[in-house]
């Protein structure tokens, strides 16, 4: 079905087979020839791209195009899944995170992640949820030492005012949108350089979504954000760079403004104008 849809388009684009790719000037991550598999099934097919420092990069594309898998490759979470396998290079500050001898635990401390469904730890208080990442690296820590980091992280996640009086209540007592911001605060608390967000708003109402978008624009000053989203308006609103993925391939990657106003590839245009997806 999908193949039929694309055949005429592909032939129309045939003379210029190279995908329409541009790179941000200052890259914190450079992906080179990255491919990823689940068992024998290839889900990411030979993607190369650079991710701009202190910018928001959005990845859009229809379901099953490999966006989530792609960002999971950026902090070595793909290999956690059974049968997950990766080839190619992901250079962070010039160093391949897949080089032998690199500890994935170490990579994940510097490349944080927020998931689609808010995965608050229900057995921990709000305070301990935020502190859960920091206390991993310490044998023992006093609450007073953590207080500052917890407050700062919650403030950055725009949640402090709502929870400052109930830090000892369980994290699961919060609403869905608050839980997702709690997860963002938890990711910020370990002070990673990059935060990956895998459809962070897909289970949230518009107001919570708006809050999280504002939050992304806010934390962009200090962090690099990569966000996977189904919501094209969201990508257009918040991101600086946008990549369009289709069936495991990067079709177009450019400044958000250009992708949404003058897409170079017919398939991108079809997708963002809602002709399929």
């Amino acid at each position: 079905m999908m193949n039929d849809l694309f055949r005429p388009i592909v032939t129309a684009e045939a003379p210029d087979k190279k995908p329409a790719l541009h790179e941000p000037p200052r890259c914190i991550i450079k992906v080179k020839d990255l491919s990823a598999w689940y068992g024998n099934k290839i889900v990411i097919n030979d993607i190369s791209m650079g991710i701009g420092k202190q910018a928001i990069t959005a990845l859009i594309g229809p379901s099953g195009c490999g966006k989530s898998t792609f960002i999971r490759c950026l902090n070595r979470m793909h290999e956690v899944v059974e049968g997950g396998r990766v080839s190619g290079q992901v250079l962070k500050d010039g160093q391949d995170i897949y080089a032998p001898g690199v500890d994935p635990v170490d990579i994940r401390r510097r490349v944080g992640m927020v998931f689609q469904r808010a995965s608050v730890f229900p057995a921990m208080s709000i305070f301990n949820n935020v502190a859960s990442g920091i206390t991993l690296t310490r044998f023992w820590s006093r609450r007073s030492d953590l207080q500052d980091v917890v407050e700062r992280s919650l403030r950055k996640a725009a949640l402090w005012d709502e929870v400052k009086d109930k830090l000892d209540q369980p994290g699961s007592s919060l609403s869905g949108g608050q839980q997702q911001r709690l997860c963002i605060a938890r990711a910020i608390a370990i002070e990673p350089e990059i935060i990956l967000m895998d459809e962070p708003c897909s289970a949230l109402d518009p107001i919570s979504t708006l809050k999280i978008e504002e939050l992304m624009l806010e934390i962009k000053k200090d962090y690099t954000v990569v966000i996977v989203t189904h919501n094209m308006q969201q990508a257009a609103r918040v991101s600086d760079w946008t990549g369009f993925l289709l069936l495991g391939e990067l079709i177009e990657y450019s400044r958000t403004r250009e992708v949404f106003t003058v897409p170079k590839d017919k398939r991108t245009e079809d997708y963002i104008t809602g002709r399929f997806g």
């Binding site: 944080g112 992640m113 995965s119 730890f121 229900p122 991993l136 370990i190």
Partner: protein
């Protein structure tokens, strides 16, 4: 119109209600009645059991009153009976059993659910479940002829010589006794606790594990900080299930505990549990008071297991309400 319908409802209350709901089929009604009968049957059996036990225990309850629970003598000749050593033995042997079984079971459950590759996990799980299916008389036989000699020498000898300053490890090493009973109980409850906790851990959502890993946790940290806290209530339930079995276990314990009416801190000493006392004496008991005392003993065991189950429920409820219905 309005008046008419009002009249109808006053004349035949509930009629409209009945008409509104579709009339259940005959088969459905029969089925519902039959299952109701079965459900009531269970309640009746339980009630009947309790009443019969109470009637038969009455002579002993009347004679000894509350002192039955605090008295340490068991003298059929002078007809003096007390339950304390049996209660003590029951609780002590179960406690030893749990102290050994809980770390082993939780550990193997963690291995099976989190670490083991698939090809190892299935046969391992199968074998552990097989262990639960071994009849207790066989475990008791093995315990008496193989385990007890080994416990007498070297285990009890070694414990006595190196930890002998503690009251638990004093006295001559008999082999049969509280320690052996506890170890036998551990072997018998390990499969239950392992199987239940493995299932409980498997039920922890993958998002919880990934969230912890994404924070830069090692696998050990993921297990201890995300998986185990998440399923804490289920683990408590698993342990209590094991405790329930340990408290009531009769045959294997009777074979290795030594059956001597003792109240001593020494784990090496022979003792009794409630179940072993009842099982080993009911056939020779004569006279209403002797039989009544044995039955009252059984009632005490019934009460203890009931209490344990209530505590377990409360613990599970509490930890669920702490979680507050999250995810």
């Amino acid at each position: 119109m309005m008046k008419k319908s009002e009249q109808a409802t006053t004349l035949l209350p509930g009629l409209r209600h009945k008409e509104a709901a579709a009339r259940p089929r005959v088969g459905d009604r029969i089925f519902s009645k039959v299952t109701l009968f079965f459900a009531l049957l269970i309640v009746l059996i339980l009630a009947g059991l309790l009443i019969a036990l109470n009637i038969d225990a009455w002579p002993a309850v009347q004679k000894f009153g509350l002192s039955f629970l605090t008295s340490v003598s068991w003298d059929p000749v002078r007809e003096e009976f007390g339950a304390l050593p049996a209660v003590y033995g029951t609780l002590l042997s179960s406690l030893i059993g749990l102290i050994i079984a809980v770390p082993v079971s939780i550990g193997s459950a963690v291995f099976l659910s989190e670490l083991a590759p698939e090809w190892l996990c299935r046969p391992c799980s199968f074998l552990i479940e097989m262990l639960a299916a071994i009849p207790s008389v066989i475990i008791g036989l093995w315990g008496l002829f193989v385990m007890v000699p080994f416990i007498r020498n070297p285990i009890e000898k070694w414990l006595g010589s190196s930890l002998g300053f503690l009251p638990f490890f004093q006295g001559p090493p008999f082999g049969v006794g509280f320690l052996s009973a506890g170890i036998i109980l551990a072997i018998m409850v390990i499969p239950i606790i392992t199987a239940v906790s493995r299932d409980v851990m498997r039920a922890v959502p993958i998002t919880q594990r990934e969230a912890m890993l994404a924070l830069g946790a090692t696998r050990w940290e993921m297990i201890t900080r995300a998986v185990l806290p998440y399923c804490r209530s289920g683990l408590i339930g698993a342990v209590i299930l094991g405790l329930g079995r340990a408290l009531g276990e009769t045959m294997a314990v009777t074979m290795v505990i030594g059956n001597s009416y003792n109240l001593t801190p020494s784990l090496f000493s022979p003792g009794v549990t409630i179940a072993s006392k009842v099982a080993s004496e009911f056939s020779e008991a004569s006279g209403d008071l002797y039989i009544g005392s044995l039955i009252e003993l059984a009632l005490v065991l019934f009460g203890i297991t009931l209490l344990v189950n209530i505590i377990a429920r409360l613990l599970v409820w509490r930890s669920i309400s702490v979680r507050g219905g999250g995810e």
